[in-house]
């Protein structure tokens, strides 16, 4: 069980048998490793919880999302752990589409207030069966720590190289009867609540100093993009149809009509 405390722009997080991390003002991280710690696991926490805390301290909104670019605009998938965010993003990387982020998607705003998706790390974490479905072998891929059947698929040549307009977010839900799936719009309050709920490491937000800003940014974003629920059968057989459906979806243009 990790211990977390945060006060005056300084957060402490302590993970048994791994180490302690002190994150200050979104700028510095001090790591005190446990003598028994596995370096790979130590790094995993830096790239996860520590990064999440850094974004909170900087006042940036980071969604627990995977995102792809298609035709110059970005679509993102949020959902609980294991809902298939990375899998759907990987399937969407057909044609000229590019990966924007996997697992952590930072959203900022341009001078005119339009939301921008910031490019993340150039790889996807995928299960073996997904990789095989997509036609990739796992022999030469790096295994993810503590998840023997999960591998990192590098897509360095297929990544977004600059911030791109965020167009829409899909909240993933699984329903075995839904086949390729159906898309349902979410209204204002539900959309905002979904973005709040699917904020990366929401539980590590400082309740006193960071919540109000996070709330302001999340509600602002909810008013500027389409947030929709995507209910589909997540079996791999339906994956190509689901991906084709979301790539062809144009909720904001329909609203504008």
């Amino acid at each position: 069980m990790q211990l977390f405390s945060s006060r005056d722009g300084e957060a402490l997080i302590s993970i048994p048998s791994v180490g302690r991390y002190r994150i200050r003002n979104g700028r510095s991280v001090i790591v005190e490793p446990d003598p028994r710690a596995d370096p790979a696991l130590m790094r995993l926490f830096i790239l996860g919880s520590v990064m999440g805390i850094m974004f909170h301290q900087r006042g940036l909104l980071a969604l627990h999302a995977s995102a792809v670019e298609s035709g110059g605009e970005v679509l993102a998938f949020v959902g609980d752990q294991g809902q298939g965010k990375s899998t759907l993003a990987a399937q969407c990387l057909a044609g000229a589409n590019r990966l924007v982020a996997d697992d952590i998607l930072v959203v900022s705003f341009d001078a005119d207030g339009r939301p921008l998706a910031q490019p993340g790390m150039p790889g996807l974490k995928l299960w073996r069966d997904t990789l095989e479905h997509l036609g990739h072998g796992t022999d030469r891929l790096e295994q993810c720590w503590a998840r023997a059947e999960k591998f990192r698929l590098g897509v360095e040549e297929r990544v977004a190289d600059r911030p791109l307009p965020l167009d829409r977010v899909y909240v993933l839900a699984d329903d075995p009867r839904a086949d390729a799936g159906r898309i349902a719009p979410m209204n204002g309050a539900a959309a905002a609540m979904a973005l709040i709920e699917h904020t990366y490491r929401m539980e590590l937000l400082d309740p006193q100093t960071e919540r109000a800003n996070h709330f302001a940014v999340a509600t602002r974003l909810a008013g500027r993009i389409a947030v929709q629920r995507l209910t589909r059968n997540r079996h791999l057989a339906h994956l190509p149809d689901t991906a084709a459906m979301v790539l062809a979806d144009a909720p904001r243009r329909e609203l504008a009509r």
């Binding site: 209204n187 204002g188 309050a189 539900a190 959309a191 905002a192 609540m193 709040i196 309740p207 006193q208 919540r211 109000a212 709330f215 302001a216 509600t219 602002r220 909810a222 008013g223």
Partner: protein, 97 residues
Amino acid sequence: MISADALIAQDNEPVAATVDGEIVMLSVAAGAYFGLNGTGTEIWNRLREPRRFGDLCEELSREFDIDIETITRDVVPFVEVMLERRLLRLVQTQSTP
């Protein structure tokens, strides 16, 4: 049950934002988030200043052309939950002996 004469108003503590015409709230004190649907938003927006509960129900009844009994029956549980969560507050009136 809340009386028709009770004075109610928005509480100052929660932070509220409007997203596509609906209210979303953060109560830092409660450490919780709340989303209001269209009806909830209508009620919330009418309570910037203290209002008699009875007057609120009458106004909603007139504007939405629904009889006062039905409106009151629907609004009572909503207002009670909002008071319990401290998103609305009861305004103390000078009591008459």
